[in-house]
């Protein structure tokens, strides 16, 4: 271990800066200018900290070890039995994922502080808390903080969705909250079972205990714990039985809020998935179960996306469906598949943010995002249409964009472990993503606005007034779109920029697949 034994400064800052920012913007409540500057400065500082920080640990406490010679408790690090109970780790994977999340945070805050007019404080605060929960969950190495991060994260998601203020948002929030109560309790039960079985809350310690001790009759407890873990996994990522609720959450929030929600959800998927792979990866059928959930998610998500007629809902289902790509990589569990899955998580967050921010821009034309009402926008905003089309290319895995790179790794790794069916599903998913997205984008952007000939008798001249609701798109939105499109392009051409951060984790966690 090359990391120093003392606590790392940056981990504490990554957690506390969002909390303080939340408190301050809550107190400012609706002083928009002050909120804008404070939140932008905090978000930018988070980006900078993520880039500058070295790798290392943060320990909250340790379970004391019994010194074998003196029979006294000790926290001495030189004694190998020292158990680091509550532990955060900041490494290459954490760096790249938190960096992407912080980047999205900056862009989203730039947009949110322009768009909304009243009661900005609590809303911006909740967006900061979303970042915090995601940062915690990707850094934790103990079950206790994992559980807390899932609980906080789900409550904040509920808040962000309810903030949209419409009936559908509140309904989606209540459904999601009820289910979060169920799955949070499930994760607590899993935590209790593993704690009772091994005596450790630290994940590394629990894994070492499970691997070195003959559990005999107690091993069935591990399977029940696995079931409860799956429950919180499908809940955090919106995998199959939850996909109607999760996509409703995505569709009901403001699109910029959804950009943040989907980033948080991808980080949760990766974090819980890696923990599951480490804890239960060697159990028979565990990875098969995870893989089947992932494949089902991809299938149902993309099929449901085809049926939607509103760009918001198309995107909502596609986000769920693409979560399946991330989890396919994690559940296959080989080195290549893990690299592909983690890289897909990064790419997914980026290109879905392009599409979501583009969807937000469509609102400024005053006719909603339904393919039936909003038509012919490309003529008014050609650059927006271009960004959306490029985002579609990235999402459907067309070469010079980043989606292609991660999908090709995933397809190759699926073929390598002898599962060509999974590769076929990934391919079909890419094609169908293109169909589903382009159906929406064609009617909203490219379809010519119907010049309804004014009937001679009883024409309704209200349509001309409706166009007056158009408001100019803020320049920050265009800037954010440009930044994100450029990043998707750069990562598509130089994937190594991200992949070299992912290989250490993939090497450490990977388990060979045996059919």
């Amino acid at each position: 271990m090359t990391e120093s034994i003392s606590n790392l400064w940056s981990i504490a800052l990554l957690v506390t800066i969002p909390i303080f920012a939340t408190i301050i913007v809550n107190l400012l409540f609706n002083r928009n200018r002050a909120i804008k500057y404070i939140s932008l400065i905090s978000a930018l500082s988070l980006v900078v900290i993520t880039i500058l920080s070295p790798y290392g640990f943060q320990w909250f406490t340790g379970q004391p070890a019994l010194n074998p010679n003196t029979l006294t408790f000790t926290f001495d690090a030189s004694i190998p039995a020292w158990r680091m109970a509550l532990e955060f780790y900041f490494g290459p994977l954490q760096q790249v994922l938190i960096f992407v999340m912080a980047l999205i945070l900056v862009l989203v805050i730039g947009i949110a502080t322009n768009g909304l007019t009243k009661n900005q404080g609590p809303y911006i605060g909740m967006i900061f808390l979303l970042f915090m929960s995601a940062a915690i969950i990707i850094m934790v190495n103990d079950l206790y903080h994992l559980w807390i991060a899932v609980e906080i994260g789900s409550l904040v998601v509920v808040g962000v969705v309810a903030a949209s203020g419409e009936g559908i948002g509140q309904k989606a929030a209540l459904k999601y909250a009820l289910f979060s109560a169920l799955s949070g309790a499930g994760l607590a039960i899993a935590l209790a079972l593993i704690l009772g079985l091994t005596g450790y809350s630290n994940i590394s310690d629990a894994i070492r205990y499970i691997q070195t001790t003959n559990l005999a009759g107690m091993s069935s407890i591990l399977y029940v714990a696995f079931g409860f873990f799956i429950l919180s996994w499908i809940y955090a990522g919106g995998l199959v039985p939850i996909h109607p609720l999760k996509s409703e959450v995505y569709g009901a929030a403001f699109p910029h809020g959804t950009a943040m929600l989907q980033a948080q959800s991808k980080l949760m998927l990766v974090a819980i998935g890696l923990v599951m792979l480490r804890l239960f990866g060697s159990l028979p059928f565990a990875r098969e179960v995870m893989l089947s959930i992932s494949v089902l998610t991809m299938m149902l998500g993309v099929v449901m996306a085809l049926l939607q007629t509103d760009l918001r809902w198309i995107l909502a289902y596609l986000i769920v469906s693409h979560s399946g790509l991330v989890t396919v990589g994690i559940s296959l569990g080989t080195y290549d598949a893990l690299v592909g899955g983690l890289f897909q998580a990064v790419n997914d967050v980026l290109y879905m943010s392009v599409l979501l921010l583009g969807c937000e821009a469509v609102y400024y034309f005053g006719k909603g995002t339904s393919t039936k009402t909003a038509v012919g926008i490309a003529k008014k905003a050609p650059w927006l249409a271009l960004a959306m089309v490029l985002g579609t290319f990235a999402a459907s895995g067309i070469p010079p964009f980043n989606g292609f790179q991660s999908k090709i790794i995933l397809i190759q790794s699926a073929l390598k472990v002898g599962l060509p069916e999974v590769a076929v599903v990934i391919l079909i998913l890419s094609v169908t993503t293109f169909i589903a997205l382009f159906r929406g984008i064609y009617s909203i952007f490219l379809k010519p606005a119907e010049t309804t000939p004014l009937a001679v008798s009883g024409s309704v001249p209200s349509e001309a007034q409706e166009d007056d609701k158009e408001t100019p798109i803020p320049r920050g939105l265009y800037l954010s779109l440009a930044i994100l499109v450029v990043i998707t392009l750069i990562l598509g051409v130089y994937p190594d920029l991200v992949i070299r951060f992912l290989t250490p984790v993939a090497q450490a966690v990977s388990i060979p697949w045996y059919p």
Binding site: A85, G167, K171, A177, L182, A188, L195, P244
Partner: protein, 124 residues
């Protein structure tokens, strides 16, 4: 023959509470009843956590003056589950608060608390 201990009884009670909670959330239609079922579920989880850390004749895991460390090590209960239970109570309260608040908002909007009416599936 399994010995019937307090710990085993506690596990059993926790399982019953959890099952009642899940069944209530699944089958009761009133939103408030669903929330009450969740609190039962949460209590079951708390009981399970406490029971995991139970030690026969155990003492509070605070090293009091005059107590030898070896005696403490052999008798003290596992401290960690107690901490988790405290956290779970806090989280349970905040979750319940959010659930009830949303239920009130939805009641004002739709005039009913029936989940099958308020939260029914709708086509988009």
């Amino acid at each position: 023959m399994i010995q019937v201990t307090i710990q085993l009884l506690a596990f059993f009670a926790a399982a019953v509470l959890v099952i009642i909670g899940i069944a209530g959330m699944l089958f009761l239609d009133n939103l408030i009843k669903k929330i009450i079922a969740f609190t039962l579920l949460s209590d079951g989880v708390n009981l399970l956590l406490v029971a995991v850390g139970y030690v026969e004749g155990g003492i509070v895991s605070i090293l009091l003056p005059g107590m030898s460390t070896s005696e403490f090590a052999s008798r003290a209960v596992l401290v960690f589950p107690v901490g988790i239970v405290l956290t779970n109570i806090v989280i349970g309260v905040s979750t319940t608060a959010i659930l009830v608040a949303l239920a009130i908002v939805l009641y004002r909007r739709y005039g009913t608390l029936k989940a099958s009416k308020v939260l029914k599936g709708e086509r988009r």
